[in-house]
Structure formats: C-alpha cells, structure tokens
C-alpha cells in the first residue's frame, strides 16, 4: 500500500478517518526498514512494540504515527548511545522533554537513528556504528549530524523525524537528503535529556517530508521547560496557522551567493533562482553582499563564524564530555573516537589558563559582532535566504579527508547558529544525474519561526523540488 510514503499530515488524516489502520501503516514502515536498513544503516535501535503503542493513540493530535528519533535523545526502554561506544548499552533512566511531549501528543518513537558520534560532524561518518548512506544515492553521505533522521525521512522509513542542530546538524543533512528540516530559535525547544554537544547552540527540531509536517511537529515539541533554564517562557506560535500567510510584501535578503567559495556553483545558482521565485510571489529580494567587516546591509564573511563556532563549540564539547570519565558509563575514555578526541583536546587547549583570553573570550567577542550584524540585517529584512550547504552531498569517506570538513560544510549556517536564529531547509534543486539535492536555507530573526515557515511553505508550494509537497 506504500503507506510509509505518506506525509505526517496525510497519515494522521487517514488514520483519523479510519481509511488506514495502525497495523497497515506500521507494516509498510517496518517492511521498508527491513528492506533498506541493512544497506543504509539508518536505525540503531527499533521499538518492537511501536505499533501497539500507536494503536492506543488514535485520538491524539499526532494519532500514533511512527517518528524516528536521533540517538542523542534519551528514551527510556530504548538504548541511547549518541552513536558512541562510550555510551554503548546505556539505558536512560529518564526521558528527554522533547520526546515526552512528542509522545504526549501521540507520536510514537519507532526507533533511534544513527548520527555523528556525540553529534560531532556533518557526515554521520564519525558514528562508532558505521556511516549512514544517503537514500537518494547510497554512494554519497547523508550529511549530519542528524544524518540518520534525515535519511529515515528521505527513505520513507518513518513518517517524520526528530533531530538536533548545533550549527547545521538538522538543515545540512535535510539539504543533502532532499527533505525539510526546521532548526527552531535557540531556547524554543528544550535540551533537557538531549546528550549535550555545545550547550549554547544545541537546538532540537523536526525533520519532515514537508514544511507543513515540520510546522506540526514543532507545535508539539516547542515551549518552555522548567527543567531547562535556556528555554523561553514566551508563548509558542501555532506554526500550522502561518503556512498560508504568503510572502507578498516580504523583504528578503539574498546571502552568501557572492562568497568566493560559492560564486557560480550549482548551490548559488539554485538559490538565486529561488530568489526569483520569491519575487514572482510578491516579495522584494535584495542581494546582501558578503563583507569582511560589519557594515549596514552586508553579511559578515562566514570565515569569522567558522572561527567563532570552532572555538566556542570545542570548548563546550571538552566540558560536556568530561563526565564520561570511565567511572560511571560503559565505555572508558579509550572508547572515544578520533573526532571526539580531537575536539576534547582542542577545547581543553582553548580554555586553558593563559589561552582562554586569546581564544574563547575573543571568540565570544566576535560572536557579539555577528549577532549585531544579524540584528542590523533583520531591521531591513523579514527573512534571509542562502544555500544550506555549499554544494551537493559528498561521497562516502569525504569527512575523513579533513578535520575541518564539518566546519566547511556548515559554514553558511554557523553564523546564524551562534546567534541562536531559526532557519529551515527546503529542497530547491535536484541533479537528475546523481539524484542529489541542493537545499535552500531560510533564516529568520530570533523567535520568528512564523516568518520562516511562511516563506518556506510559499516556496515549496510554488516549486516542484519537494516530491511530497503537493500531497498535503
């Protein structure tokens, strides 16, 4: 019946109308998993009781649909490893807030998805349990760190998925897998019960087949959490009500396409074309030139953000991983992979006495400049658009060629991430030769997910790049 190909919105609708049963839906999803998981290596763990859990949830908003969850979310009853041997066998004694809310709204955790170990990377190759392959073309990487969740959506091995982003970890794999990924404003979704990577930027968010699906999942996971001091007490907008707002009159800044690494690339061309689509839809699109200094109506060179993010994130990583000292968890420190070891060493160095001022403190100062830069830009523009990643998915093994691989893949997302801004990836080009995608990144000001969703939905409906878009 191919029910696994349904969007979240369709699946809920059909379940509620009793056009399909949970048994039928889960059978198709599980059959697809049986068929493809060995090759693609998407799921690390599956809940055998998912279908019976779903059946009891028909009268909930999410009606008991199967959702894939990145393995850094703590899920009692399902092993949680963050794809690291250090946590192999760890059965969490408590549940992450995002998962509790998802379940309360009627989502069912169908399984845990592969990721870069500790979310360190943009390839899912640093997983201690083997790389995930891109369902669009298995010779290629899915991106990361939420590569398993993005691939699960792309391969229809779930109806929707949960990922987390520190700087690109939702949007970049969504771009490479040709799906939609929403990174909410930092502090909009709770980090309680999510294995910490860089605490000052970690943000849980949905990965889905359509903008509508992401908006719906967002509605059910976002909001203040008394267990997470970073979460905002502001009311959460109902994003599904924003979908049809359109972009008429919106001012949109076109960013990064003039950067030397992008000029003339398929990614830049696709996004320039997307700008034209927005103009046709009634928006005003203006180029925002890259600049080496903070200037009005200019975007600071992303090189700065790479430096800032690398220093801040490594420092926080070295701190957040200190608890895995071999006293309490299964694997001792020898079980850390090379990428984690590199980050721990670099972070320890940059926080060391005598160096902290030179690196960490300086990085935070530049971070303030970046935030100031966005603040100024959002006084002119409603949203900013750019390529999500500088290019198409890279081939398996690419991440092992350079320790800065991830930072270069995420260079267009890091500035907005260190500023806490929300953003979304929507597919904006497909290369028929490789079946690989380019993603459009739409960024909004703090707490302005509504505008991001409006622009994303309008674009998705006006183009044919998203294979599921017209279904809902």
């Amino acid at each position: 019946m191919n029910l696994h190909r349904l969007t979240l919105t369709q699946a809920i609708d059909k379940l509620k109308k009793k056009e399909i049963s949970h048994a039928e839906l889960y059978k198709d999803v599980h059959d697809a998993i049986s068929e493809k998981n060995t090759e693609l290596n998407i799921y690390l763990a599956l809940d055998p009781e998912a279908v019976s859990k779903g059946e009891k949830l028909l009268n909930t908003p999410l009606a008991g649909v199967p959702i894939a969850v990145k393995d850094n979310f703590l899920t009692p009853g399902l092993e949680t490893t963050a794809s690291s041997n250090v946590l192999k066998g760890f059965m969490p004694p408590y549940e992450s807030t995002v998962i509790s809310r998802l379940k309360k709204s009627g989502g069912v955790v169908v399984g845990k998805t592969n990721m870069d170990a500790w979310a360190h990377g943009s390839s899912t190759e640093t997983s201690d349990f083997g790389p995930t392959k891109n369902p669009r073309n298995p010779e290629y990487l899915p991106g990361g760190s939420s590569g398993g969740s993005a691939a699960a959506v792309a391969a229809n091995l779930c109806i929707a998925a949960i990922g987390s982003e520190t700087a690109g970890s939702i949007r970049q794999p969504a771009a490479w897998c040709g799906v939609v990924g929403l990174k909410p404003t930092y502090g909009r979704t709770s980090r309680y019960g999510v294995v910490a990577m860089a605490s000052s930027t970690d943000t849980p968010g949905p990965i889905g087949k359509t903008v509508r699906d992401c908006a719906l999942v967002f509605n059910h996971i976002a909001g203040h959490d008394p267990y997470n001091a970073s979460t905002s007490t502001d009311p959460v907008p109902d994003l599904t009500k924003q979908l049809d707002g359109g972009v008429k009159g919106m001012k949109i800044g076109l960013c990064y396409v003039d950067h030397h690494a992008l000029r003339g690339t398929p990614a830049a061309d696709a996004v320039i074309t997307a700008g034209k689509v927005f103009e046709q839809l009634g928006a005003v699109v203006e180029p925002v030139p890259v600049s080496d200094e903070v200037k009005p109506k200019h975007m600071l060179n992303p090189d700065y953000a790479i430096g800032v993010y690398t220093v801040v994130q490594r420092g926080e990583v070295s701190s957040n991983l200190a608890r895995y000292d071999g006293v309490r968890y299964g694997g001792d420190r020898g079980a850390f992979g090379d990428e984690a070891k590199r980050r721990i060493m670099l972070g320890t160095f940059t926080l060391s006495h005598g160096y902290a001022d030179k690196y960490y403190v300086r990085a935070q100062q530049v971070r303030s400049l970046i935030i100031q830069n966005f603040h100024e830009l959002f006084s002119h523009y409603d949203v900013l658009i750019s390529p999500t990643s500088p290019g198409f998915a890279q081939k398996l093994g690419a991440s092992t060629q350079s320790p800065m691989y991830g930072e270069l893949e995420d260079m267009l997302l890091e500035a907005s991430s260190v500023s806490g801004l929300p953003g979304i990836n929507v597919p904006c080009f497909r290369d028929p030769a490789t079946n690989l995608y380019i993603g459009l990144n739409i960024m909004g000001n703090l707490w302005q997910e509504a505008k991001v969703i409006r622009a994303a939905h309008a674009y998705e409906q006006a183009t044919d790049w998203n294979e599921w878009a017209k279904k809902s």
């Binding site: 408590y94 001091a229 970073s230 200190a322 960490y360």
Partner: protein, 437 residues
C-alpha cells in the same frame, strides 16, 4: 620577628529545601547513600541545571549582612577538574562575576575585609570501605548539588586567635540569617585558612602561601594555623620559603600534612556555564532582600547594652543566638517592673535555662521564688558547711570515693540549718568545699 598573614575561605551549605540546580532535598546528612539524587545532580547525559532562586537570594542576603556590594549582573561558570565525587567533570561555580564583592566583619583584632561571596554546588562524597574483603571507594551523590556559599576574606588576619574570632562571628551571622545550620560536625560549614609569614614591618603579601583544606571545627582551625605559623617560622629561619602547597589537618597527629604541591596545581579551565542564562538584579530586588535582613548580632548586642544597661560580655552572651536573644527580651517583658532587665540577664546567664522547654514566664516565676528566699551571707554558709562536714566524716569519705548521693545527703543537713536559702547556692558552695578538703 614574623607576622602571620592569614586569609580564610569558608564554605557554607545552605539549608534550602531543594538542591542548587535540581529538586532533590538539600538535606543530605545521615541519609541512605544515593537516595536523594536525580539526573541533574548525578550529571547524567542531557541533564540541565536550573538555579535555585532561594539560594541566590540567600547568598545576596549574606552579602548584604556582610556589607558587600551586590552584583547587578552575575553568572555561573564551570570549574573543571576530575574527581570521582564530581559527576559532571566540572563544578558549577562562579568565577569572575560573583554575586557579592567586598564587605567586612569587625573583630576585637580589627576589621577583616571580605573579598567576595559566591554561590556554587557541593560535590558528592567518597566513602572508603571494605566490601567482600576488598578495599573499595564508594561514591554517595546525596550531597552532590547541594547549594554551597563560598566566602573569601582578604589576608587581614594576623593570628590564630583572630581567625577563630572571625570564624565564630561569621558562623553567628549565618545562623542569625537562618540560611544554614552551619553545623561543623555535619560538614555544613568548612574552613580553609591560607597562611604565610612575613617579616614584621613588611607590608606586601609573602611570596608563598599554604592552604589548609576542609577543617571542621574552630578549634582545629586555630590549631592548624598555630602549627603552620611555627612550621613556617622554622623553615624561614633557615633562609628559604616554605613550599607553596595544600595541606590537610590530621586530627590524630595533631599536625598538618602535605596533600598537593604547586606543581600539581589544577588549571580549572573556567568558562561561563552555557546551560544557565546570566542573572540581572535590579536595585529594587536587592533592596527587597535587604528589607528581610534580621537585626544582626553586633547591632543587637549594642542595643542590649544600651537599652537594658548590660555589660558587653553579658550582652554578647545573650545575643549568642537569635533564639536566646528573643527569649531574653520576652522574659524582660514578662518581668515588667518586677525585675530589672539586668536581674533577668543575670538569672538567665547563671541559671542557663533550657530555652526550648522553660517558657519565659516560668523562668520569671522561678526568679520570683528565688528572690523570696533569704539571702545567706557567704561567711554564714561556709561556717555551717564546715561544721556539717566535720560532723559527717563518713559521708565526706563516701563522696570522695565517688558516691555522688553523699553530697545530696550533706546538702540536706546544711539546708535544715538554713531552710530559706537557695538550693543551688548551697550545693555549689558545698561541692566547692568538698573538693577542697
């Protein structure tokens, strides 16, 4: 020839209901190990801390009581080191922007300035045990995440006695504020003196410093400081500086022992705690906390001297705790015009009533009874006692042999001759006489 230069670091556990960053009970003393824990204080993956508002308020309150400047902007920082009782590999503490800076406590040796007061979390506790014949170290996380205030003084202290007086005054203030039991035996107040010596006449800080860790009584603090002063003097006499190091007080040896030298000093890699947004306090907020401050010991003592005409020593004794001071003032009220506040003070100081069980009214009633008894001159009493003792040699011998009841027997005989005298007065005089014969 040398002048000691001493600064103090004091840790005080706050008696809030819940932990510094979680909902676990802050009261951890003598509980079954690892029963008062949660993902946050165990440092489990993904657990995030939420600061305890009461603990922040109480720290500000302590700062106000010490005359500190309260920060309008403050934050928490991570302090990194590896130890099995520290489940996250870092302690959430405060680095460069503590809640309170400055302030002082007056002592009879001069003022001791406060450098800073900050808030942090306590660690777990290691227990060394033998399980199935194997020597093991167990970790109890009940104490992990209990709110802990650290008070750091300037190096304004120059003797062990001055240090002890300062510590007692700080202890008293903390108890007055009701923010901690500050019970040394339970470890809810822990003392760390930093000691060095300089030649008399010099003013700068000496080139070295020795820290003595985790002392749990005023007496040990005094002894440890004295011990260190003598040790440093001996070393300095040979022309070298004592090693910069951390030492511990060994109760059994009655000496300090080396624990860690400077070469092993940790680099804590402080950075702002990214899990907790920075804190901003308005002047009104700080003022509102200030308005809840109770009358502090020194002020109360001076008021007692002035209002009730008491000597400094008596006023100090009666203001030792807030409960005793309140008791005294209640008793003065009950006494009305019957007795002077001074009479009431003397009665409390001499009688040492159990203020938890004897109501002020009952105390005044007993004072009334006592005053009704005829005052006996010391000479009369002493004469009668001598006679009774001479006539009852056997009872005296029995008492000397350890038979306590004999004293009561002898008192009965004295009392027969002085029926209206106060029993306690007789007994005191009798025992004194017995002990002298």
């Amino acid at each position: 020839m040398y002048e000691p230069v001493i600064g103090l670091e004091i840790h005080v556990e706050l008696k809030t209901k819940s932990g510094m960053f979680c909902g676990c009970p802050a009261d951890h003393f003598a509980k079954v190990p690892n029963t008062g824990t949660c993902p946050v204080c165990l440092g489990l993956p993904g657990a995030t801390p939420v600061p305890n508002k009461k603990a922040v308020e109480w720290t500000i309150m302590l700062g106000l009581a010490l005359g500190s400047t309260i920060a309008e902007f403050s934050k928490f920082d991570r302090k990194h080191y590896f130890y099995p009782d520290l489940p996250k590999g870092y302690q959430i503490s405060q680095y460069d922007q503590p809640l309170c800076r400055g302030g002082k406590i007056e002592t009879s040796f001069g003022p001791v300035r406060i450098h800073r007061v900050h808030l942090e979390e306590d660690t777990g506790k290691l227990q060394h045990a033998t399980v199935n014949g194997e020597k093991v170290t167990l970790v109890d996380f009940n104490r992990s995440g209990v709110p802990l205030v650290e008070i750091v003084t300037e190096a304004d202290i120059h003797s062990a006695e001055a240090a002890k007086e300062f510590l007692k005054k700080l202890h008293q203030i903390v108890r007055y504020l009701g923010i901690s039991d500050a019970d040394m035996e339970k470890g809810s107040m822990r003392l760390e003196p930093n000691i060095s010596l300089r030649k008399v006449g010099e003013t700068g800080l000496p080139a070295y410093k020795v820290e003595v860790k985790n002392i749990n009584s005023f007496r040990f603090a005094e002894r440890a400081i004295k011990y260190e002063i003598e040790r440093h003097a001996r070393i300095l006499d040979t022309g070298v500086n004592p090693a910069q190091e951390t030492r511990g007080w060994d109760e059994a040896k009655n000496a300090t022992v080396s624990q860690r030298t400077k070469e092993e000093a940790a680099d804590y890699r402080y950075f702002p705690e990214p899990d907790i947004p920075p804190m901003r306090f308005t002047k009104q907020y700080i003022a509102a906390i200030g308005s809840t401050l109770p009358e502090l010991p020194d002020v109360k003592r001076m008021r007692f001297e002035k209002t009730y005409g008491l000597h400094t020593a008596d006023a100090a004794q009666l203001t030792d705790t807030r409960a005793l001071a309140d008791y005294y003032e209640e008793a003065v009220k009950v006494a009305g015009t019957m007795f002077t506040p001074k009479d009431v003070a003397n009665w409390i100081i001499n009688k040492k009533p159990d203020i938890d069980t004897v109501l002020p009214a009952a105390l005044i009633a007993s004072l009334k009874d006592a005053k009704a008894t005829v005052a006996v001159s010391a000479d009369d009493l002493s004469g009668i006692i001598s006679t009774v003792l001479a006539e009852n040699a056997k009872a005296v011998a029995d008492y000397k042999a350890g038979k306590q009841q004999s004293a009561m027997f002898l008192m009965g005989l004295v009392r027969r001759k002085l029926p209206k005298a106060d029993t306690k007065v007789i007994l005191d005089a009798l025992k004194k006489e017995l002990d002298n014969t």
